[in-house]
Amino acid sequence: MSSEENDNQLQEQVEQGSHRGLDIDGKAYEVVFRVLKKEPEFVSIPSFTNKIIARIHEAKARKALRKDFLWLGLGLFSFVVATLFVMVQTNFKISPGAFTFISSYSTLLWFGLLLIAGLLWIERQILPKNQKQV
């Protein structure tokens, strides 16, 4: 019998508790098997489960948000496709149309824009900050 087979047999005997020798190999194996049975240090952290549950809820929220964005993207994509489809089908041409008449009143248009911008600036200067937030 080879020394490996002997050793294997010795391990089995010590594991089963049937080893009765006084040899140093047997004694050493008894120590090894005793120590191997010892549970590694384990400290149950009270918040451990709560942390996992919180991470599951976070993951669910992230997944729901991703789903919302996916639907938004699909909606926008469908809108663009439908618009292009209609434009092709109806032979639609983009033209300024009704807005052409504005070019005759460009001074009036600039005046209107500047007036609105000016009023907004005055509002920012006059109204107190807290009122602006309302």
Partner: protein, 185 residues
């Protein structure tokens, strides 16, 4: 198995209390698996959390071909192995490299606190110095009382390899203990 089925169907139905129960039942097993490999305490806790997150995420795919504990241990084992790969721990740490046995048996730890340790503590320190695969099969077999077949499923190793790793790991530890016993006599 029936209990596992009832628990799993509750969790799939969204019962978080049932999931808490599952964590309580298996946190020791996961802690053993991760704890043997990962020494950094913060990483260890986060990895244990990641294991249970994966369990929750994949529970619908559990096919009852093995025990729930075996399946969870498999996830924990893979998570731990991925961790050491990410940390770039050298492959020789995974299994026994050439000349490891001689180095393992001959190496003396001369730190003062080590010299003052009792024999059991010294053996526990020696277990920590073993290659990762050896540590895992030892823990699963001796602490978690798993069979060779179950350990094989978890570690994706043939049963013969599991037996061989167990034998070699215990043999290495025995040789080391012989040295200690010899010096005590």
């Amino acid at each position: 198995m029936t209990e596992d089925k009832a628990l799993i169907s509750k969790i799939i139905g969204g019962d978080m209390e049932a999931f808490r129960q599952l964590i309580k039942q298996h946190e020791r097993l996961v802690a053993h698996m991760i704890g043997r490999i990962v020494k950094n305490e913060e990483d260890r806790e986060e990895l244990c959390q990641d294991v249970f997150l994966k369990v929750h995420e994949k529970l619908r795919r559990f096919n009852y071909e093995s025990k729930l504990s075996t399946w969870i241990a498999t996830i924990a084992y893979r998570q731990a192995i991925n961790y050491i790969r990410k940390k770039r721990i050298v492959p020789s740490e995974l299994s026994e490299s050439e000349g490891f046995k001689d180095r393992f048996i001959a190496t003396e730890n001369l730190e003062e606190d080590y010299v003052n340790k009792d024999l059991d503590e010294k053996v526990l320190s020696c277990i920590d110095q073993l290659p990762i695969h050896y540590k895992n099969v030892l823990t699963l077999y001796h602490v978690d009382n798993m069979s060779y077949a179950e350990i094989g499923v978890i570690t994706e190793m043939p049963e013969g390899t599991v037996k061989n790793y167990l034998f070699r790991a215990r043999h290495l530890l025995k040789e080391k203990v012989k040295k200690y016993l010899g010096s005590e006599l």
